[in-house]
């Protein structure tokens, strides 16, 4: 068991908006990522997965929120670093890819410069060297005719190309950790597959650890070693991928699985989506936030807040975990 590259401990992010009462976007999340490993953060929008990633990158807006807990990266607590030190690490040790490739690229700066600037920033090299590096990267992420592309602008690229360009930037300095926030959501299905494949090769070959943030268990199934399921800002279940898919213990996980259309499901057999929406959440403090939407909810779910307890075969980093009074019994596993 190698040491974790990234280990998040009891991460809390609270948004304090004038007027409204504080909102716990992330409420004590902990998980580990080992070198070269791919870990998924899964959940509906608003479950706090993106906030978690931004917190790790130190990209949360300066005002209007408070972050606590620990984000140990190679033994240093990123939360403890100054803005300046953090800038040093971003892009060099940690890279990130965002959801919408078009809006994530600067429309008035050429692709070349946008890739090269990372290289220039983190390895003190001349502009020309950086440019050459950028070309190499574009080539590597499978952009045809990279030399021409260098001079082009985002609006001249297709969606897939843009995402590849973004990946090129994120990986330009061979970071040890890459966070991908819904990298494929904004893309056509066909492109999605290509991008995921690309990501997979790149991380495996450069031995980069990947945190894959998604609401799409399909993506998880394709890539992740470990899966962390978040709900209402808390971790509700963690497990190794196949265990999780084989035997989802948390009704929510089960629900997520249930809402994936499957080719092998009998015709006419209805999907059973999770009723209600995130807005029905209860406060974790004195209950199970998921209770209102939970098929197996019982009075005690509303009475007290379930703890995260060890569970099942566990993930590669020791055991798995579960936060539920009434886990799903295999018989009920969604099919």
């Amino acid at each position: 068991m190698s040491e974790p590259l990234l280990s998040v401990r009891d991460l809390k992010v609270t948004f304090t908006r004038q007027g409204a009462e504080p909102f716990h976007a992330v409420d004590g999340v902990s998980f580990d990522v080992r070198p070269g490993q791919t870990v998924g953060l899964v959940g509906e929008s608003g479950c706090g997965k993106s906030v978690t990633s931004l917190a790790i990158m130190g990209l949360l807006p300066r005002r209007g929120n408070s972050v606590s807990g620990q984000v140990m990266f190679e033994g240093t607590d990123l939360l403890g670093l100054s803005d300046k030190q953090m800038r040093e690490r971003r892009g060099r040790d940690l890279g990130m890819i965002f959801q919408d490739p078009l809006s994530s690229l600067n429309p008035v700066v050429s692709i070349g410069v946008q890739v090269a600037e990372v290289v220039q920033r983190h390895r003190q090299v001349s502009k020309s060297v950086a440019m050459e590096e950028a070309r190499a990267m574009l080539d590597k992420v499978g952009i045809p005719d990279p030399r021409r592309r260098l001079r082009e602008y985002p609006h001249q690229l297709s969606g897939g190309m843009r995402q590849r360009a973004l990946i090129a930037m994120a990986l330009a300095c061979r970071p040890r950790l890459l966070i991908a926030d819904e990298p494929t959501t904004a893309l056509d299905v066909t492109i999605q597959a290509q991008i995921l494949a690309l990501l997979k090769d790149l991380v495996s070959e450069s031995d980069t650890a990947l945190v894959m943030i998604t609401h799409d268990l399909g993506v998880v199934a394709g890539m992740c070693d470990d899966v962390n399921v978040l709900y209402g800002g808390r971790l509700v279940e963690r497990n190794m991928r196949h265990d999780l898919f084989a035997a989802p213990a948390h009704p929510y996980t089960n629900g997520l699985l249930g809402s994936i259309p499957r080719l092998d499901s009998a015709r006419g057999e209805p999907l059973d989506p999770i009723p209600g929406s995130v807005s029905d959440n209860l406060p974790w403090a004195e209950s199970c936030a998921f209770a209102p939407r939970c098929p197996s909810a019982a009075p005690d779910c509303l009475a007290s807040s379930p703890e995260l307890v060890p569970h099942g075969g566990g993930g590669t980093d020791g055991e798995g975990a579960l936060r539920c009074f009434h886990p799903v019994v295999p018989a009920e596993v969604a099919r």
Partner: protein, 336 residues
């Protein structure tokens, strides 16, 4: 690109022609007119008739207009009667233009070099004291009538403190040689640095007065568009790349935020011209604005129509240039 420019120029020409006739027509519908401007108390029907005949004012308006166009075709825009009697209107415009250009450039430089940085800061520190104060400050700048601000500046810094010259473009006793009539430039060319410096001193107060409104507007547009850009995903991407805040500010925030600002700067030229009429009047600054003010109160037709049409032309041209500049900054326009 070229086609775009040509089309704009043609449009402009059209606008100019329509404009010239409108102005020509209404100027002649004014009461009084050049004849009585010349004659004053001495006007008698006899002398008036004689003058009107000499000027062809007794002919029907459209005929006068055709004559006018014909004259223009021969590069004769009509002689001034008051602003600079006997001088051709175009010549007057060209004589006065350098002064106004010096003044407006100076004013714009002030407006830009304070407005943009301040706008950026205000946006970064949104809803802080700095933000609110500078917003109110900029709005006060707009609320103060330009000519009154001009008077205050003159009264305090020139009359009371005597730090700066009261009026004019240059101290006559310096007796500078003028080549281009851009006095500062002239001073530098001829090596008469004291003259250049003196001319510069004469620019400061009117420049400040004139800058107040463009400053306010540039400031607020900058602030607004920086706020917009700061929310953009690509700024977050840049942050995620760990770029230094300098690079992020310059390359990613400001370069984008400047797009609307450039447009607005171009549009300011219009208000600058109008403002120049007032400031130049207060400071007796020999520029187009001063000529325009005199021409309009003294009914100096030739000059008046020349200057208004010219103002419109300048305005249109500048905005054309801005559009071109815009196309150059914004690849989305250029490469389409």
């Amino acid at each position: 690109m070229l086609r775009f420019v040509v089309r704009r120029l043609l449009q402009m020409a059209g606008v100019m022609i329509v404009l010239s006739f409108l102005i020509f027509a209404w100027l002649r519908s004014l009461p009084g007119g050049p004849v009585s401007a010349i004659l004053g108390e001495r006007a008698t029907p006899a002398t008036r008739a004689a003058l009107e005949k000499a000027f062809g004012l007794d002919r029907p308006i459209w005929e006068q207009y055709l004559l006018f166009l014909d004259r223009i075709a021969h590069g004769n825009f009509g002689a001034s009667i008051r602003v600079q009697a006997g001088t051709d209107a175009l010549e007057i415009f060209l004589d006065r233009l350098p002064g106004t250009i010096e003044l407006t450039i100076f004013a714009l430089t002030i407006a830009i070099s304070i407005g943009i940085p301040l706008g950026y800061l205000a946006a970064r520190r949104r809803a802080t004291i700095l933000d609110n104060v500078s917003i109110i400050g900029s709005l006060v700048g707009v609320a103060v009538p330009v000519f009154f601000l001009a008077f205050l500046l003159k009264y305090v810094f020139a009359v009371q403190l005597g730090w700066l010259p009261v009026s004019g473009r240059q101290t006559p006793t310096i007796d500078a040689t003028h080549i281009t009539n851009f006095f500062i430039l002239d001073g530098l060319i001829t090596g008469e640095y004291d003259a250049a410096w003196d001319a510069f001193l004469h620019l400061i107060l009117p420049g400040l007065a004139l800058a107040s409104i463009p400053f306010a507007i540039i400031f607020r547009i900058t602030r607004a568009s920086v706020l917009e850009v700061l929310d953009e995903d690509y700024v977050r991407t840049a942050e995620a790349k760990g770029l230094t805040s300098r690079v992020i500010r310059g390359r990613h925030v400001l370069r984008n935020a400047m797009l609307p600002v450039t447009t607005v700067i171009g549009l300011q030229v219009g208000s600058l011209l109008a403002g120049a009429v007032l400031t130049e009047r207060v400071f007796s600054f020999r520029g187009v604005g001063d000529a325009l003010a005199v021409a309009s109160t003294e009914r100096d037709y030739a000059v008046l129509q020349m200057l208004i049409i010219a103002a419109a032309a300048v305005y249109v041209i500048v905005n054309l240039l801005v559009d071109i500049a815009y196309a150059i900054i914004d690849p989305r326009v250029r490469t389409r």
